[in-house]
């Protein structure tokens, strides 16, 4: 246990790659859900219709203030009782995406609030239809300034992705724990730790690059 063995690492590799694929899949699809659903929440929270606005605010507050772990258990064990049952991976992706969508909603909201009132006034003065104003004037400016903040949540989601292992979707950390328990070794955990850095650090650099490019 206390000396490093490359042969153990080699033995772990096939399962490691299986785990990497699950991690990246969860991250990519989770991000997609978080980014689109978050925008939907942000717009619904501004709705002038009370019965859209109030439930959405309540729901997003609730999801944001309860643990992801609980939500994953709920989605996997409770929802199928009276709803669709999904595979462990699908549940994990939906859970991550939904949880983080309530954070990205706040990010979008800040971005939308940050667009100067003069932009709305100019759109009114030009008689642009409301939907067109959102699509062509407000959202492009709002999203541009929140790209770095959204990027931070991608990295945060990567770091939370091992949680989906609790419902049986073995990401790279889940594979490493299983492998280590079966073989009484620890190399796999180190490999995965390094792998997280190798994914997260370039992602941070990309965010910083986008920040310089997009936000002045």
């Amino acid at each position: 246990m206390n000396s490093w063995s490359w042969s153990v690492v080699q033995e772990f590799m096939p399962r490691f790659w299986d785990g990497v694929i699950i991690t990246l899949e969860a991250l990519a699809l989770g991000t997609l859900i978080a980014f689109t659903l978050g925008l939907f929440w942000a717009l619904a929270q501004r709705s002038s219709v009370r019965w859209i606005r109030v439930p959405v605010v309540a729901f997003t507050e609730f999801v944001r203030n309860t643990p992801l772990l609980v939500q994953l258990f709920f989605l996997f064990y409770v929802v199928p009782e009276w709803g669709p049952s999904m595979s462990a991976l699908t549940t994990g992706i939906v859970g991550l995406g939904l949880h983080y969508s309530t954070y990205t909603a706040e990010v979008y909201r800040a971005g939308i609030d940050g667009v100067p009132a003069g932009q709305w006034e100019a759109a009114t003065a030009l008689n642009l239809p409301r939907v067109h104003t959102w699509r062509a004037v407000i959202l492009p400016q709002a999203i541009r300034r929140v790209v770095p903040a959204l990027g931070n949540y991608v990295v945060a989601m990567l770091k939370d992705s091992p949680m989906i292992a609790v419902i049986g979707a073995l990401d790279m950390l889940g594979e490493a724990r299983a492998f280590s328990n079966e073989t009484f070794t620890s190399e796999a955990l180190t490999v995965v730790g390094v792998a997280f850095i190798l994914i997260a650090y370039p992602a941070s650099l990309l965010m910083r690059y986008l920040e310089r490019r997009l936000v002045h």
Binding site: P116, G118, Q119, E121, T124, A125, L128, P129, Q141, R144
Partner: protein
């Protein structure tokens, strides 16, 4: 919103008035910015609103642009009511659809330009003609080029607003407003945010437009020389009321009202 106005207030299709404020009151909280204001503007006239800050000049432009709504009274543009719509002889507060229709007659240039920073100069100008007037893209671009020539910025057509000086941005904003072919152009302190050396270029463009088109202009400005040069009428505001009006010669050279004299001596 009051509906006690006489619905048979004469429209202005007879050509004597393009803008008509009837007993318009606007409050912000407990502060009454406009107080039972009446005034009219004839088509093609260039009217300058002057007065101390807080006297309600900008509020008039914002009411006309429908950025805000009056608390009482009616506003008509070219005979159509901006504030109310007639439903079976009874006036109701105007709905969005009605407002959009009347608003087509009005354009506005803002103190802070308010160009769309995510669009190049050309698209800033063509966006509304294409998406509001239903103009073809080619036609809108053709027209945008003409307008950019008018404001002297042809070579900047492919730049983003942030790549331009304040004066250039404001000239683009003027072109953008004109692209909608409004009957009324509202100018809200359009040179106040500019560095002094950039003011002249913008005023020259507006002077050209004032002298070469029959567009009606309503202008809030602190540039008294410009006001003197382009205005047919000057309205002096104080505390939400017109306290004096007349030709620029009369107002600037021989004001009757004491407050007007004080105001002019303070700024000239």
């Amino acid at each position: 919103m009051s509906t006690d106005q006489n619905p048979s207030v004469p429209g202005s299709k007879d050509g004597t008035e393009l803008i008509r404020f009837d007993r318009v009151t606007k409050r912000f909280g407990s502060n009454t910015v406009l107080d039972n204001l009446d005034f009219t503007v004839a088509p093609g006239k260039h009217v300058t609103l002057i007065g101390p800050s807080g006297s309600g000049k900008t509020t008039i432009l914002r009411l006309l642009m429908t950025l805000i709504r009056p608390d009482e009274g009616t506003i008509r543009v070219d005979g159509d009511c901006l504030t109310h719509e007639d439903k079976g002889g009874v006036l109701h507060p105007a709905g969005e659809k009605h407002i959009r229709e009347v608003r087509k007659k009005i354009g506005m240039v803002f103190q802070q330009f308010n160009l769309f920073p995510n669009m190049k100069v050309l698209r800033n100008i063509t966006e509304a003609p294409v998406h509001v007037l239903g103009m073809s893209k080619d036609e809108a671009e053709e027209r945008a080029r003409e307008l950019l020539e008018l404001v002297g910025l042809t070579e900047h057509i492919d730049k983003y607003p942030t790549q331009l000086s304040g004066g250039q941005q404001q000239r683009v904003a003027i072109a953008r407003a004109l692209a909608m072919r409004p009957q009324v152009l509202l100018l809200d302190e359009v040179t106040s945010a500019l560095d002094p050396e950039l003011v002249a270029g913008v005023l020259d463009v507006l002077r050209d437009i004032a002298h070469s088109t029959d567009i009606t202009m309503l202008c809030v400005t602190h540039e008294m020389n410009f006001a003197r040069d382009i205005s047919d009428d000057v309205l002096m505001f104080d505390q939400g009321k017109v306290i004096e009006s007349g030709s620029p010669e009369k107002i600037f050279n021989d004001p009757e009202n004491e407050r007007t004299r004080e105001f002019l001596s303070a700024i000239l």
